[in-house]
Symmetry: C2
Subunit: 226 residues, 2 copies
DNA sequence: CAGGATCCAATTGTGGATCCGG
DNA sequence: CCGGATCCACAATTGGATCCTG
């Protein structure tokens, strides 16, 4: 599947997936996924990326020096996010945005942050996660989104609170309790991994790797009513 | 303790309780309560009624024909409600308002309903319910409240939804799930008690006795910020 | 490791049941 | 029974842990 040429073509292509199951979409691509739910974390999102012609991960992170900072649709600066819905049509899970990097100063300022850039234009593809088997899960919504002024103000306030704590060396005070829309959670294979960063006094500090996530209560407000 | 002469005197007297424990207030009245929390349901509220000179229940319900419809402070048309707060200062429990009577038509219309009259003027007395022992619980807030236009519109919408279901004979559809601020819950010693009322076709129907309650999320918005 | 996310034990919320005294 | 409410088992939420691939 070639990359879409513009946002209109992308949105059109995404809307064609609405009503289809992940099984049908996989079959059309001549592929499949593992049957065990615990072994398919992230696979459903990757399947949708392929179905829409997004840039594969391996191209992204193999470029040295940019920390893999690339959109799913680089020329459109659009990010693709899949979102599982429960029986009431509400998000079941938080949505991963990106890693919280503590090494580069520019990423700690909202205007130049990677999280702001990632959320500036998002193609949301929401599916019914009620069926146990991944191949029976059906796409319910697909739409482009850019934050309203109010939404961006909320995201920024959450971002600033977290970054402010790190800047003051209070990494241990940053928990997933913070943030009304955007929160920070651990992001690593297990709880023992550590990354280092430079503290306010120039000292080297270690903390567990973390990522930014959108709360389900926030993404719920983005979906079409009912 | 004589009844207060006007709302100012009542509010003044209530504010004097702020900072005192229920034990201190009981001692000043020369009384006490049982030590077992399960045997003091409602007793803390009754203690505050006595401390503020409210009309005792027994005067209220012994008057025939009015179903005990009387305020705690009849001449002021003010209701006293005590409200237990958790460690974060938020209400731990819903607040009982009054019984849902299905026998008299005028009580099924918001304007003439007893629930509206009860909530028209409320003296809220909030206490810290963190201590296990009732005598260590301290009064944190005491203030008079009348619903704003917005608040009354919300209460009325919740009321109308419930009453509408009863009017259409759908008593079984009325559960505590309904209502954003005002909800209906069972109100009887046990689940086997039944009351009767006349259905839309003139037939006699039986249902369990119920009462109106305010959700904690609503009463939380009435408290002083933080 | 970074990016695609979901899993799940523990906490929080709450709907229905219950307690006391007069 | 009624008005004063709280109890508590179970449902819903969620913060931290974890899974897979290149």
């Amino acid at each position: 599947m070639p990359a879409p040429r513009d946002a209109n073509e992308l949105a059109l292509r995404a809307r064609e997936l609405v009503g289809r199951t992940l099984g049908e979409i996989a079959a059309a691509l001549g592929t499949s996924l593992d049957d065990d739910p615990r072994r398919t974390k992230g696979k459903q999102g990757e399947l949708l990326e392929r179905a829409l012609g997004a840039t594969p991960d391996d191209l992204a992170w193999s470029v040295p020096g940019d920390e893999g900072r690339r959109h799913d649709f680089p020329s459109l600066r659009v990010e693709l996010k899949s979102i599982p819905l429960d029986a009431r049509g509400r998000p079941k899970e938080s949505t991963y945005v990106c890693r919280l990097s503590l090494r580069e100063t520019e990423t700690l300022v909202w205007e130049t942050s990677w999280v702001r850039e990632k959320l500036a234009n998002v193609l949301w593809v929401a599916f019914d996660a009620t069926p146990e088997d991944w191949w029976d899960r059906r796409i319910l919504h697909a739409f482009l989104w850019a934050p309203t002024a109010d939404q961006e103000a909320t995201l920024r306030a959450d971002f600033d609170e977290v970054v402010g704590l790190f800047a003051r060396g209070r990494a241990e005070a940053v928990t997933a309790h913070l943030g009304t829309a955007l929160q920070v959670r651990p992001k690593a294979r297990d709880g023992s991994v550590r990354t280092t960063f430079t503290g306010p006094e120039g000292e080297t500090l270690a903390t567990i790797p973390r990522g930014f996530y959108l709360r389900p209560s926030f993404t719920a407000t983005l979906l079409p009513a009912q």
